[in-house]
């Protein structure tokens, strides 16, 4: 019964845009560093989805290759980022991103 509805590239792109929007909104609105971090991951994966979709649509493998790079970099970034966040959390209990403004001019 659902066979009539074939998901096209557009659907995936719209989904990626929605995911990216949620991620960006979360980074701007939430104050918990961990949640902000997860939002960034969401944005990265939204982009990944765009790459994969377009790679399929254009029958070009390059897009999928880029995704692997993004995943590797994201993994490395998680290691470093989480390390920093945990270290800050240990020094100052339960901190929000807005309190870390020591570098203001």
């Amino acid at each position: 019964m659902f066979s009539a509805i074939q998901p096209t590239s557009t659907w995936y792109l719209i989904l990626a845009a929605v995911l990216f929007g949620i991620g960006a909104f979360g980074v701007m609105v939430r104050r918990n560093p961990l949640v902000m971090f997860m939002c960034i991951e969401l944005m990265l994966n939204a982009v990944n989805l765009t790459f994969v979709t377009l790679a399929t649509a254009l029958s070009n493998i390059n897009g999928q290759v880029v995704v692997f790079f993004v995943m590797v970099v994201a993994a490395a970034e998680v290691v470093v980022g989480l390390g920093i966040i945990v270290a800050i959390m240990r020094r100052r209990n339960g901190i929000t991103a807005d309190d870390l403004s020591a570098l203001k001019g």
Binding site: A24, V27, M28, V29, R31, M36, A97, D98, L100, S101, A102, L103, K104, G105
Partner: protein, 636 residues
């Protein structure tokens, strides 16, 4: 032997380095012995080179040794090169020869001084610099030596730097010399801009072949003359030399009488073709300045009471004679007088040092007298020096001064007249000095109570290290004239020897009235010397006339004090005004710009809020705006 030219400056340099490293261990007197040996060894090498050059035909008497390429920058190629030719070897011979004698003398004179090794360290450094100056193959190597001797002169004038006057005299010498060095630098820039090289060979060749424009040559010659005025103490830059007598006496003899102060004369002789290519008035300027300096300094010397000050002004006066010779085109005569002057003036200075040593550091001639009885060797040698400088035949000074006056007469009779007047005064004040120091009554006990321990002592003769150089130099002062006797062309040894260097520029006075009547002029010179001596004896020994020594002359025409008053009064105010302009206007502008920029950036700083989320928002908005821009332009 010719390839060993590098050894000539290298030996004193080695001595300098050894004393720098081991001076304290060597101590008194071995540091002095080492320094003396190095200078004497250098003299031996120069003598070897001299005889080798002498064995060559005269046109081949030129040898350039390039040690290394010093400044290879594009069009500027300067080699560290040494030149052995008749002129440089003549200079090097008397620099090392008299230098070695003065080193030996200084072993005795500086005995017991706390800084004994340091003194010889500076002396060896000076000899090295002086040799670089005279043997350099280009203006820059010469300038290296030029600055080196200036620095050594400064170190040695203020050697007893705990005395305020010595420290001040050193500074005065250095600053005055800088004025002259400016001229030398400008001359080098001009020569390089016009010819594209700094080597003497290149510049002189350009001047001889006529490719150097007369106006450029005039500029170079005049700027070199400014440099020479500073180094060789000519009007108006002579003021440092009398003050330089604050240094130890061997320094006065070596640097401020025999060698360094003659480097201006040497430089102008070296660059003679440029002077020749310049407008004729530039030679007249040099001759006039020289003659005026000779007379001016001689008048001052008449009224000085300090034994070394008399000799200092006398040196200025004799250097004036040399410049008179240069300006008259008599380069050989200038070098001739330079060499004989080095003999007798070094002798006189060392004699005065011996007197000062024997008198326990008393320099006032009014407290001396009758010293010939207690210091016979010093007295006899000093008297020989006196006869030489006064121009009594057959002593060396007579021949050289006469040669200068001969050329001066042929060139400009008014300057000859000034020169004769200066020669007359020279005979007068030198006789006065000899009488005050060695004859008359002994006055050294008159001031016993003022002088404390000094007054009780009877003067004594100096040790052999001091008298031996006096004896050697007095021999040279007697016979030095043999270098260039006026009897026939064959006896002009020095002229033949220097011919390859100066033959293009030497003035030819053959056929002039002066040349035809040179025996008359020679006789006149003898009469003038005798008249000066006789007048002085009448005044100071016989007391027939009252001595006329106006305070104005004792104060050196108030030249020095006028400069001090001018610089200290209106000059000081002008400097203060310039300083205020600098502090308020120039600095105000600079500081003002800085303050304004700071204030503006203070506003911009607020953007850095430190809030990560607002940064994220700005990045987001920015991305959207950029995207919108491209979309609206239809690029994407």
């Amino acid at each position: 032997m010719l390839d060993l030219v590098w050894l000539v400056p290298a030996l004193p340099l080695t001595g300098f380095l050894l004393i720098v490293l081991f001076g304290r261990k060597l101590g008194d007197p071995f540091a002095g012995v080492l320094a003396t040996t190095m200078t004497a060894a250098s003299f031996v090498v120069v003598a070897g080179i001299y005889f080798e050059l002498l064995s060559l035909p005269s046109e081949e008497r030129k040898h350039v040794v390039t040690l290394f390429s010093w400044i290879p920058v594009g069009g500027l190629q300067v080699d560290m090169a040494l030149l052995a030719d008749p002129l440089s070897i003549t200079m090097a011979l008397f620099v090392t020869g008299i230098g070695a004698l003065i080193h030996l003398y200084a072993i005795g004179y500086m005995h017991g001084d706390a800084k004994f090794p340091k003194f010889f360290m500076y002396l060896n450094l000076f000899i090295f610099s002086m040799l670089m100056l005279v043997m350099g193959e280009n203006l820059l190597v010469t300038f290296l030596g030029w600055e080196g001797v200036g620095a050594c002169s400064y170190f040695l004038i203020s050697f007893w730097h705990t005395r305020d006057s010595a420290a001040a005299a050193g500074k005065k010498a250095f600053v005055t010399n800088r004025v002259g060095d400016w001229g030398m630098l400008v001359a080098m820039f001009m020569a390089f801009a016009a010819v594209g090289t700094l080597s003497y060979e290149g510049i002189n060749h350009a001047a001889e072949s006529g490719s150097l424009a007369a106006v450029t040559a005039t500029g170079i010659a005049m700027m070199l003359f400014v440099g020479a005025c500073g180094k060789s103490a000519q009007l108006p830059l002579f003021i440092w030399l009398p003050d330089a007598m604050e240094g130890p006496t061997p320094v006065s003899a070596l640097i401020h009488a025999a060698t360094m102060v003659t480097s201006g004369v040497f430089l102008l002789t070296r660059m003679a073709p440029v002077l020749h290519a310049a407008y004729p008035w530039s030679s007249d300027v040099i001759a006039t300045v020289g003659a005026l300096t000779a007379l001016f300094a001689a008048t001052i010397a008449v009224a000085q009471t300090d034994i070394k000050k008399v000799l200092a002004y006398s040196t200025v006066s004799q250097l004036g004679f040399m410049f008179l010779a240069i300006g008259s085109g008599a380069y050989v005569a200038a070098i001739f007088h330079m060499v004989t002057h080095a003999f007798f003036k070094a002798l006189l200075f060392m004699g005065s040092g011996s007197v000062i040593h024997g008198m326990h550091h008393e320099q006032d001639m009014r407290r001396m007298g009758a010293l010939r009885k207690v210091m016979p060797i010093t007295a006899i040698t000093f008297i020989i020096g006196w006869l030489a400088i006064a121009g009594v035949p057959p002593f060396s000074g007579f021949w050289s001064k006469d040669e200068i006056l001969l050329y001066a007469f042929a060139n400009n009779r008014f300057l000859y007249f000034i020169g004769v007047l200066a020669a007359l005064l020279t005979a007068f004040y030198m006789t006065r000095q000899v009488i005050m120091v060695f004859f008359g009554e002994a006055r050294w006990n008159d001031h016993a109570e003022e002088n404390g321990a000094h007054g009780d002592h009877t003067p004594h003769e100096s040790p052999w290290t001091m008298t031996a150089p006096l004896v050697v130099l007095s021999g040279l002062a007697i016979t030095g004239g043999v270098m260039q006797l006026p009897f026939s062309k064959e006896t002009h040894w020095l002229e033949h020897w220097l011919e390859p260097v100066v033959h293009h520029s030497e003035a030819n006075i053959k056929g002039t009235w002066a040349y035809d009547n040179k025996w008359l002029l020679l006789g006149l010179a003898v009469i003038i010397a005798t008249a000066g001596i006789a007048a002085s004896i009448a005044v100071y020994a016989k007391g027939k006339f009252k001595a006329v020594e106006p305070q104005l002359l004792a104060d050196a025409w108030r030249y020095d004090s006028s400069i001090s008053a001018f610089v200290g009064g209106p000059g000081r105010k002008a400097f203060d005004a310039v300083a205020a302009f600098d502090a308020h206007i120039v600095d105000g502008a600079v500081v003002g710009v800085g303050t304004e920029v700071r204030a503006a950036s203070g506003l911009l700083r607020k953007v850095q809020s430190g809030l990560v989320r607002s940064y994220a928002a700005i990045i987001g908005i920015g991305a959207v705006l950029v995207l919108a821009w491209f979309l609206l332009r239809g690029v994407l």
